[in-house]
């Protein structure tokens, strides 16, 4: 093969916070592709780099501390290594935190895969007075060790040259033998011999590694083994049980504990006598620790945290307001243009209400998502997010959640006015799966920006003297609902002990601008691509539900006759002006007649809505919703609110013959409802409770499906939330009726 055609598969492994992603970005630049590993939500990043005609296909493995089978990330990393067999693994090691980082290195060496070590953050290590003899370490490990500073790109070229050099050698895997002491070693050798003899799983794992994993009780390897060779599996497991029993009796310890002890012992002897020199006193207080004294202080910590979280919220929603508004008005202009150019009829209605509104709904979220990811990346890369989790864990743990859950709640509308779409996406910072699912299922209970106009309209109509108090009560209510329901979910369908916390508090660092931009862009693009198709399809479905079947010919004729009747009564001199509807021409008298004509149009729209599939569903639902006092109008509006909560007001407007209402016109609806005798404060409150809690909007459900990796959780959130909302609305309404409040 000529040099020009060579391509090597190289994997990037390392601990979280070791600068792995920074190095990946530095090497691949913008030429990277982000996807998911098949069937799960762990991100898979791939990129390319060409060096002297050799192409390196670089795969960024998830950051892990170890290669056990406990977390999705570790399994993914491990499976990739043994199944895809990269030619070389670049193991990134944080030089300022060498011992713990080498723990993963030892496990990679035990697997035997060809390794190149990037001794990263040499600058941070030097600043802490740590001096490392890379050449000596390389000599002892017998593999290339290249000092790097990923942030500045220092050492990158040497690293790539060494990687290509190793890849060219194409050597076989040579597993490292670590001694595990007199209690484990004999059993290990015995098992290794049996495994080698019968070729047990040797197509994927080295024999000694398999034996080690059996001793550690690794679920994945045990499972695979029982499938491949049940008899040998039993024998190996019996040996492992014997070792475990012996260790328990003599040392009061476990095999995996002994194994870990010896691995750290191996690392200690590796670094002893001349590899690492600590020049200053180890317990000196560094800048990062000094910052922690203030930022996690008992009194100052929570105050500063509130300020920072509020600032993030303000940043996300204020700075995205302008682009969101620009996009919205862009789509409005486009809609108007289509409205005026296309001929009246179904096609026009489909384009304007189905497609443009649907696409606008997706694109409208984009600036929000950009700013949300930017601020989260900032908090994450500086190391502050870990402190937030640290400070709030005690609170959130009581509800079966995790300290990191707070971000998702706040962004979803924990400070009223957020949005659940970026909120659900923000749960990516949570590594433990049960807590993460519980968070993303309950974040949509928060009061997002689209629910607020509906609340504001109802409050203005029924609680005009207590606006501020009511908004505050609603915020408290949504937090209580989210936390209590999270608890409910965690003791029922997501039952189980909390995932170990054990959170590293990385030193504070200044993030790189390039890294922030790359993160933000790739995640946003994923959203546009995935959400786009589904949301568009369902928004067209909703349009169809609300447009078909149209009024019958006789019904339409009846409305036409009504219009003719209005025109007949109008004085001759204003008629031309009356017919020029929609234009601001003519006298006050003409305007009055025009309004009468419009009233007929609106009445027609109302009966068309009632006649549509959505209207029929709404009417049919009255049988159940009488328990909460909802009539067909409200039912249709709530149904449309599933497509997007903003639609609740405009649909209610149509249903009450007020015409399609824009956001500024909600006052007329407010006045209309206040005057309606079937409405009262109790009814309004029941509606508010229902809207706060019922099925998340389509965009959110799409994100829940995408983030949880299965459509089941999307369906669950619709059914569960609606059931809870309905139950509580009944409680409020019937309870209120019984007590005689608010009627």
């Amino acid at each position: 093969m000529s040099d020009a055609e060579r391509e090597f598969l190289v994997a990037l492994a390392g601990n979280p916070n070791c600068g792995k992603t920074t190095l990946f970005n530095a090497v691949t630049g913008a030429r990277q592709h982000v996807g998911n590993y098949p069937g799960i939500t762990v991100e898979k990043k791939e990129g390319f780099h060409t060096l002297n005609g050799t192409r390196i296909r670089l795969v960024d493995l998830p950051g892990t501390y170890s290669l056990t089978a406990y977390s999705m990330e570790e399994l993914v990393a491990r499976d990739f290594l043994v199944n895809d067999r990269p030619r070389v693994v670049i193991d990134i090691v944080d030089a300022s935190n060498l011992e713990r980082n080498l723990y993963l290195t030892v496990q990679l060496l035990e697997l035997g895969i060809p390794l190149v070590i990037a001794l990263n953050m040499m600058d941070a290590a030097a600043a802490r007075g740590i001096e490392i003899d890379a050449a000596e370490l390389a000599r002892r490990l017998r593999l290339p060790v290249i000092p790097t500073v990923a942030r500045t790109g220092k050492g990158k070229d040497e690293l790539l040259a060494a990687t290509v050099g190793e890849a060219t050698k194409d050597r076989a895997w040579e597993p490292l033998h670590v001694s595990y002491g007199p209690d484990v070693d004999p059993a290990l050798s015995e098992m290794e011999k049996d495994i080698r003899g019968s070729g047990f799983l040797t197509d994927v794992f080295p024999p000694r590694w398999t034996a080690l994993k059996v001793l550690e009780g690794d679920e994945q390897v045990l499972g695979k083994g029982r499938e491949a060779d049940p008899e040998l599996s039993r024998k190996l497991e019996a040996t492992a049980a014997r070792v475990a029993e012996h260790l328990e009796k003599t040392l009061d310890s476990y095999p995996e504990a002994i194994i870990a002890d010896h691995r750290y012992g191996f690392i200690a002897s590796l670094l002893r006598n001349g590899v690492v020199r600590q020049n200053r006193k180890a317990d000196r207080l560094y800048l990062s620790d000094q910052l922690d004294r203030v930022l996690t202080n008992r009194f100052l910590g929570p105050i500063i945290m509130m300020v920072i979280l509020y600032a993030v919220y303000q940043f996300t929603f204020n700075y995205s307001r302008l682009p969101v508004e620009l996009l919205e008005s862009g789509f409005t202009v486009l809609g108007r243009y289509m409205e005026s150019t296309l001929p009246d009829g179904l096609v026009k209605s489909l384009v304007v209400s189905g497609i443009i509104d649907g696409v606008g709904g997706i694109i409208g979220f984009v600036p929000l998502i950009v700013f949300m990811f930017l601020s989260i990346a900032l908090l994450e890369d500086t190391g502050y997010l870990a402190r937030v989790a640290y400070m709030l864990d005690r609170v959130f743990r009581s509800f079966g959640l995790h300290g990191s859950s707070v971000m998702a709640f706040i962004i979803s509308g924990g400070i009223a006015g957020g949005c659940a779409v970026p909120g659900v996406m923000a749960t990516r910072t949570l590594r433990s799966s049960k807590e993460r699912l519980a968070t993303l299922l309950t974040a949509p209970f928060m009061n997002c920006g689209a629910k607020l106009p509906v609340f504001a309209m109802l409050i203005a109509a029924f609680f005009p003297e207590r606006r501020a108090v009511m908004m505050f009560v609603l915020t408290l209510l949504s937090w209580s609902a989210a936390l209590l329901l999270a608890k409910l979910i965690r003791v029922t369908i997501l039952r189980g002990p909390s995932t170990p916390f054990l959170l590293e508090l990385p030193p504070y660092r200044l993030p790189t601008f390039k890294g922030l931009l790359i993160h933000t862009w790739e995640r946003t693009w994923q959203y546009i691509r995935k959400a786009g198709t589904i949301i568009l399809a369902i928004s067209i479905l909703f349009w169809a539900l609300m447009s078909f079947p149209g009024l019958s010919e006789t019904q339409r004729q009846a409305f036409d006759a009504k219009r003719q009747e209005v025109l007949r009564q109008a004085p001759e001199d204003v008629k031309p002006d009356v017919l020029g509807r929609g234009q601001d021409l003519g006298t006050a008298s003409a305007a009055a007649w025009r309004d009468r004509l419009l009233a007929v149009d609106r009445e027609e729209a109302e009966s068309a809505l009632k006649h549509s599939f959505a209207g029929r569903i709404g009417t049919a639902l009255e049988g159940i919703t009488r328990w909460t006092g909802f009539d067909w109008r409200l039912n249709v509006a709530l149904l449309s609110g599933f497509a997007a909560k903003e639609l609740i007001i405009s649909t209610l407007g149509t249903a009450y013959s007020l015409g399609e209402l824009s956001k500024d016109e909600e006052l007329s609806l407010s006045a209309r409802l206040a005057a309606d005798r079937s409405w009262n404060p109790l009814q309004a409150f029941a509606v508010i409770v229902f809207i706060m809690l019922y099925a998340p909007c389509l965009a959110t459900v799409t994100c829940i499906i995408k983030e949880s990796g299965t459509w089941k959780w999307g369906v669950f959130s619709m059914a569960f939330n609606t059931a809870i909302a309905f139950a509580l609305a009944i409680l409020v309404y019937q309870g209120g009726l019984w007590l005689g409040v608010g009627t």
């Binding site: 056990t68 922690d292 640290y390 864990d393 170990p500 916390f501 959170l503 508090l505």
Partner: protein
């Protein structure tokens, strides 16, 4: 030298890990982070609600819940 559970240690106190009593996932996680017998560390502080606790070990800072710290026995100079 006295043996105390990590939970009972106060901020600033130093100690050497004597024993990790946890097995299974928790035990594995604790050991993966370098908390093995013989390792020296210092309690850095506690979260505002007294839980979790942050310790300085092997040149990095690790926080763990009190319920997790219960599994770790520490050798200290004097009882806290």
């Amino acid at each position: 030298m006295t043996l105390v559970p990590l939970r009972s240690m106060s901020a600033g106190q130093k100690g050497i890990i004597a024993k990790v009593k946890a097995s299974g996932e928790l035990g594995r996680r604790i050991r993966d982070m370098g908390l093995v017998p013989g390792t020296a560390f210092q309690v850095q502080g506690r979260a505002p609600l007294k839980d979790p606790v942050a310790i300085r070990i092997r040149n990095f800072t690790l926080s763990l819940r009190n319920s997790e710290a219960d599994y770790i026995e520490v050798e200290v100079e004097e009882p806290a």
